[in-house]
């Protein structure tokens, strides 16, 4: 048995134990990427580095064995900085988007590619569920959204972008036709009461999300009809029945509307645990100090969103603010201090080039976007929607939830641009039937897949090719992936720390067109 110090904690472990395992035993979490217990270990990524305080060296904890009397630092700022640098260097050679540009471009951060895939498969109600994770009023937005997502869509580079907004409208309309609206699951009821003042887009959106968090919600509005400025939109842009349907859905979800009630915060504050002001450009609240990051105000329990802060031009942004303010209320009511909502780390690589477009087209269908036969206002029929959704290039990452590079980069709050000094590599996509996708430009060269495939002697296997910066993993004799990886695909996908090797169907929950 050997005794060592890990962050000043003394721990005794058997000889031959790695520092990583010893740390685990001491309750210290060290991140890893290239390490995998089932595979012979060759430390390379350096994300698990710790500092040997005696020699002053940074060593990979996954590979280094404990030695008697070691004094190891696992969590000092210096060690954190070192791990950040490892990640930043790896990211400088990692060509991939965690999220599709359309989703990043959407103020509400809707999971557009996933919606598209579900539509393409004909699973319209599931598609709506995806939409409603982020967007409270897809019917309304289906008509009036300015669709910044379509401006970001990569498909635009080969002609017209996917008409995402129409697809969203389509799934929302499909839902409204069934007669039984989709109502999202609510978190456990807390018994806490919330109110929203103002039944415009921001307020309606806020109420939807407050209800989802498990609070009761009363919506006050001074007008006799709910809708706020939406009531001013002409019928040929937003038919009245659409607004009415959306309000009906909210009511079914549990919203209580109190119209013709020109209330103030002071008037109702004792009746509610939290109140959101969403009453639009309202001079009554001109002196209210609003924190635009957290939507909190100088009044306890009072939150604000929408035009009450400053004019909001984009409808979807007003909706997004409603959602964000509801999130702040939820934090507040959970006993936490509301924080600015931080988006998860997102690797980005910029525009596709010609050759890359054809790589991406492998997962799409050619052709321009077609206008709905029945006209833009009524929108797509089923066949049209499916055809349009299939035009999606599928540019989101297949492992956006489990990629260790993303999770660690997010954890350490790294800057992907730090070492972006040279032109990036060209993206390629290789497929093993509908099982595995290999994207070499996302690889961190850990070689786990090589070792996994090596277990099966009948396979051609994978090999490191070249050396230095140009090292990459490829198949000997240009054989197809089926012959190189075959049944080892699943193990490789699970072991790969990034989405260089990913399942064709993506992570669980993701679907692909047939």
């Amino acid at each position: 048995m050997l005794t060592i110090k890990l962050d000043n904690i003394e721990i005794t472990v058997p000889a031959g134990t790695t520092i990583l395992k010893a740390a685990e035993k001491a309750g210290i979490i060290i991140p890893t990427m290239c390490f995998n217990e089932s595979v012979p270990n060759h430390a390379s990524c350096m994300v698990c580095a710790v500092k040997n305080n005696i020699s002053g060296e940074f060593i990979p904890s996954c590979e280094s064995k404990v030695q008697e009397g070691m004094d190891i630092k696992c969590s000092t700022p210096e060690v954190i900085e070192f791990r950040k640098d490892s990640l930043e260097l790896l990211l400088s050679d990692h060509v991939g988007d965690c999220e599709a540009p359309c989703r990043v471009g959407c103020p509400a951060f809707m999971d557009i590619p996933q919606m598209n895939r579900l539509i393409a498969k004909g699973e319209f109600s599931k598609a709506l569920e995806i939409v409603k994770e982020e967007i409270a009023l897809p019917l309304i937005l289906g008509y009036i959204c300015s669709a910044p997502c379509e401006g970001a869509c990569r498909r635009k580079q080969t002609g017209s972008s996917v008409t995402i907004c129409q697809l969203k409208k389509f799934v929302a309309l499909e839902d409204s036709k069934i007669g039984k609206y989709y109502l999202p699951d609510k978190l456990n009821k807390t018994g806490k009461k919330t109110a929203v003042i103002g039944a415009g887009l921001a307020g309606l959106s806020a109420s939807f999300h407050l209800l989802k968090y498990g609070y009761s919600c009363v919506i006050f509005d001074k007008n006799k009809e709910a809708g706020g400025s939406l009531l001013n939109v002409p019928e040929n842009e937003l038919p009245k029945y659409i607004l009415e349907t959306e309000i009906e859905i909210l009511k079914q979800l549990g919203a209580e509307f109190r119209l013709n009630s020109d209330v103030t915060f002071d008037l109702i504050k004792n009746d509610f645990d939290a109140v959101i002001i969403a009453s639009g450009e309202n001079s009554k609240y001109a002196n209210l100090e609003i924190n635009e990051d957290t939507f909190t105000t100088n009044e306890s329990k009072l939150f604000a969103c929408g035009a009450v802060m400053h004019p909001v031009k984009m409808a979807v942004r007003a909706g997004a603010q409603g959602k964000a303010s509801a999130h702040s209320v939820h934090s507040f009511l959970s006993g936490k201090i509301p924080q600015k909502q931080k988006r998860q780390f997102n690797s980005r690589f910029g525009k596709l080039n010609e050759q890359e477009i054809s790589e991406y087209m492998k997962e799409s269908i050619p052709g321009e976007s077609k206008e709905p036969q029945n006209g833009v206002l009524p929108g797509f029929n089923r066949e049209e929607a499916i055809a349009e959704a299939m035009r999606c290039l599928r540019c989101d990452c297949r492992k956006s939830k489990t990629c260790k590079l993303r999770l660690n980069s997010d954890h350490y709050n790294v800057n992907q641009q730090k070492y972006k000094l040279a032109e990036r590599n060209k993206i390629r996509k290789h497929f093993q039937k509908e099982i595995l996708v290999y994207e070499p430009e996302k690889c961190i060269k850990c070689g786990l897949c090589i070792e996994i495939v090596k277990r099966n002697n009948d396979l051609t296997g994978l090999a490191y090719i070249g050396r230095g910066f140009d090292i990459h993993i490829d198949i000997p004799f240009n054989k197809p992936l089926e012959q190189a990886v075959a049944d080892a695909a699943i193990d490789c996908i699970n072991a790969c720390p990034t989405s260089a090797l990913s399942g064709f169907a993506g992570e669980s929950g993701n679907v692909l067109p047939d």
Binding site: H42, D85, S86, I450, A463, R467, F469, D474, F477
Partner: protein, 782 residues
Amino acid sequence: MSDEMLNIVDRIVADKGKSVNMVIPILQAIQAEFNYLPEPALERVCQITDITPSRIYSVSTFYSQFRHQQAGKHIINICVGTACHVKGAMLVYDAFRRELKLDDKSDTDAAGLFTVLKVACLGCCTIAPVIQIDDITYGNVTTDKAGEIIQDFLNQKNNPLSKRKNPSKGENAVKGEIRIGLGSCCVASGSADIKEELEKTLDKNKINVNVKQVGCMGVCNQVPMMEIHKDGEPTEVYTKIQRDEVRKIVLKHFKPDSLLTEYKNRFFNFFESLSIENVPETTKKYSNDQRDTPVSEFLNKQINIAVEHRGVIKPLDIDEYIKFGGFEALKKCLLELNPREIIDEIKLSGLRGRGGAGFPSGRKWEMVREAQSETKYVICNGDEGDPGAFMDRMLLESYPFRVIEGMVIAAYAVGASHGVFYIRAEYHFAVKQITAALEICRQKKIIGTNIFNSNFSFNIELFEGAGAFICGEETALIASVEGERGFPMSRPPYPSESGLWDKPTLINNTETLSLVSWIFRNGAEKFNSIGTEKSKGTKVFALAGKVNRGGLIEVPMGTSIKQIVEEIGGGIAGGKTFKAVQIGGPSGGCIPASMSDISIDYESLNKVGAMMGSGGLVVLDETDCMVDIARYFLSFTQEQSCGKCTFCRIGTRRMLDILNKICSGKGKPSDIADLEKLSLKTKTGSLCGLGKSAPNPVLSTIKYYRHEYESHINGICPTGKCKELIKYEITTDCIGCTKCAQRCPSDAIEAIPHELHFIDSAKCIKCDICKQICPTGAVIIK
């Protein structure tokens, strides 16, 4: 696959064996047959051996020796080692590509006759720039000579050198001996030509003289050299001989046998001389007894241990080696000393590893001795990958028996039964010499079973490295011998515990081993009395670059840099100013001239940010750009990185990106600090010595030459070396001779006889030819 190819592969496999560790020798043999690795041949190998497709691919793409694309009939290797780099190797490379009309994508000419490649270092640094076509090496190449060289090569191919036998004793009395160096530098400078001419002259004139090919004479930038030994006359040394001067020299010393021959000769010579307009004045003659000649100065300041009997000893003459005391040390060790005593003697001598890090050799031997195992190995590390270093090559070529002797002593001391010579494949001649020397030793029972009738048995085989700098690192070297990619392994365990095939293994550098026999013949105390407190004995350096006299030198530890540059090297060539020395190659650093008083030992070099490395010592003058030097070394190391760990693989590349930015004038002031920071991170974050030391050339140049970095950021390369920051112009010194216009490969100069010429910057490709050939020095860099 053709049956013929199949048969060839089958024959190679039958010869080399089917086991996995034979992958590199098999690939080398296939490439020797086809000049590249045809895919069907590789597939065949996988079919009939234990080598998997994964292994054959990963190994064959790791080592730079191997090609997967068809190559031309002849390979032109352009040396881009340090010494060649500072003398314009890249311009030479461009010139050959232009000459053969290669486009950006191909390295082989349309006719499939020549393939142009870069090679890390041919180890002929003193006659830089150097190129090699197949096995013929050319030195002192200039950019305008590409065409001539290719033509000369083709001529030589058609008229191979003739072989001459030395006269037998029975014939007329032997009149003397002419020694001619045939080390790689000598040959590259044309000594084979000289030898041919010499033999022709001797035969034609029926002069009965022994011609002796000796190993490297060390004075490598004075080559070709010829020494005339004649009874009753002082020895005379001729340096930098040209072919057409040989006859004159020979006839001056030796009279032809008969009057008739002499007469005939005069007759021929009369006509011959008509075709020679003027005999060049390059040849210099020095007598060995003369003092203060460049040669004597060069040699006299040195102490010869590793290169004992230089210029005298014939490399493969074992009797001569024995005559000079060879194998006495081995005999003494085997028959009189026990391993403990041998190790103690080495410890007492203070010998430290000459590979770079300077680990105490006695301690290393002891660790292997103490390791418990039936089987142990000794490896001689001759994988001298540093650009600008050629010590190991010279030692292996010229003193093969000395290295073998050291190796057998080491093996006996540590209890090893098996030895491996690991020599890089670029060193054709060294491989040839060691192969021959091992065969001779086998015949003489100096290696094999019961050496000198002791009960000690030891065998040595030779393994040719395949072109990977990282394989100088011992764990990577071992991986390579085992038929793997040269990925270093983490230590501990050290090779002394678990090395080749997981057995205790002693790995010593070639130079370290070549010092061993001297220590036993002369005593550890004597060795210990040479050098400084912590660095004992001598160190061999490859002195090259901008000095007047370069070559292989062996100096006592503690000699100052100034002494080496000024006294041995004869100062800076061409009246330029001494700027710095680059010592230790890609792992080392630059030491400015102002600090040249420091004495050379392991510790003092580390202190100033350089390191001993294996002993490359490239002298730089005022025309050398320090940012370019840093970029040069970094582009080398990042290409040589094995690619495993993040900091070395990506860190060195990003450092290079920053340097490229700075050298092209696109840098910004914060780049210097960023580069420094990333350098320090790469130093601490890399897993093996390559990455840990790769930032040294950058850090040392930033430390001593920060102002040069700053000027580049301001758009000026102070020495006019960085292509993107310079412009060629013609001054009013132009006499209108049109030479530049005629040779300009990009039509950037219009020929207008007798008028001032002008360079069109838009067309100029900065090949430097105009500047090199201008008779009045009117072409300048701005």
